[in-house]
Symmetry: C2
Subunit: 328 residues, 2 copies
Amino acid sequence: MKFATLKDGTLDGRLVIVSRDLKRAVAVPSIATSLLDAMQRWDTVQASLADTSARLDIGRANGAFDFDPLASAAPLPRAPQWLDGSAFLNHGRLMEKAFNLPPIPDFETIPVMYQGASDDLLGPHDDVTFPSEADGIDFEGEFGVVCGPVPMEVSPPDALACVRLLVQINDWSLRALGPREMKSGFGFLQAKPSTSFSPVAVTPDELGAGWGDGRVRMRLHVQWNGERFGEPHGGEMNFHFGELIAHAARTRRLTAGTIVGSGTVSNVSRTAGSACIAERRVIEMIDQGSARTGFMRFGDRVRMQARFDDDSDGPFGVVEQRVVRYEA
Amino acid sequence: MKFATLKDGTLDGRLVIVSRDLKRAVAVPSIATSLLDAMQRWDTVQASLADTSARLDIGRANGAFDFDPLASAAPLPRAPQWLDGSAFLNHGRLMEKAFNLPPIPDFETIPVMYQGASDDLLGPHDDVTFPSEADGIDFEGEFGVVCGPVPMEVSPPDALACVRLLVQINDWSLRALGPREMKSGFGFLQAKPSTSFSPVAVTPDELGAGWGDGRVRMRLHVQWNGERFGEPHGGEMNFHFGELIAHAARTRRLTAGTIVGSGTVSNVSRTAGSACIAERRVIEMIDQGSARTGFMRFGDRVRMQARFDDDSDGPFGVVEQRVVRYEA
């Protein structure tokens, strides 16, 4: 099943089921009012949602209409929590060099993860407003999971069984602000403004072999202003999503609809390119002595789309956004 | 005005107005369904809420009933964001010594602040469950504000004008987990489980001279298992709430209902005692060579109540909670 949320002026938006080919949609207000509502009552509504999804795919859903990703909010415009790991250790190691930070203790055995704001998540084609180019505007291509209710102290295998939906994420970052916040020990705040999401959140079965070992085994293709930037593969994730969820739930329960992110998709092999500018810059520093690529400018666009290993389109649709100057 | 939220099985609970003496309450479903709803539509509902509040205080509100703090959730059981500063620099300096951490850059001029989970906030008398005493269970007595909508890049004076309500907070902390998370640079996650709140959130006018210069100018009286622990004064806050809100909104807007905390109330003078165990422990280390006070044990209770400078009861009511072992 694929779910999207259409903007309707409410905090949670209007839930629609989207066809497998992303072309048609149907609202399901009699089953669930929002995706958050569906996450909270999943065991009750799952069968009805699946039935409607099957009818939509064969052209027999009453009230179906053309799906418009431009009218889409984030699948969960407001989530209970947004917890972002850094599960591709290659990315973390490069960032240590980029920010000239000391090595993180237990980096290879305990996931690092920050708590992000989850009240104002952005849709796949929303403009993204920032106050200043000097803050070092960067994208970060990621995968993520939407959880059902997760009990405190869950084990990684049990945590993996709590995964309900998969999403594709652009975790916007302001690189000039990150190092100071990391050194404070209190973590990211100003450096991590609103995060953006793919038009649809999908059940794991939609990925077939693209979902395995708790990882999204697909390439995330990233383009900046129409030019290829990288297509790192999600299968290289060092901690799987069950391990990330279990880490988050060590001392708290997670309520249904909590989103957990992978951190920037990153591969050891440099032929795959990168899913964020900061990573390309540190590679330039290492290889060429200095960073040549600047961060984003107002008016720039970034496009992200996951693709299967046979290079067919992934299930999440496209995230394509423009950065614009914030005007009070 | 004083607002409380009664538990009714929904995520946002049932809004009630509470009388000035905290003895009577009245539901206001025709005005606002929840406190979050009221925060979002404040300009529209404020006059009606004030009218009902005035009638309640003179015994003329229809449908009024006895207020039961034991039936109360947090005023906002689910808030858009929970952002906790560390605005009492005396506390921060002592914690640096306690955790053997390097000094935070710009500590005296830029607030430090972490993003906490805001989906599962606890009521004033809820038991608090933790997996292990070995995690170093500690309370932290704080004050906080609930904001209306805050635009990105707001100035501190304009931010202060966004304050709608004041609350009293117990920011539970797991001290054995904090230092590792601080060293990771990603900030607190496992070290900061669900936060607890006073039975009522109040408009600033309820404090009279207890609210001034963007600070709660009252003593926060803390008792641990019935014994006095400390009563530090909130007037010593080094950054005021407008400065904390402006810091949070530097690169993001804050949606209505966002809660911003002061961090542990802490005074330079040691006669006031402390509002958290970690602070007492580091003072013992400095004065006596080693920490003598242990952290909390299962079954322990902590009680917090703000009092005016004339030692009369503060407006927030009492937070009194018991820590219990989490059972899966």
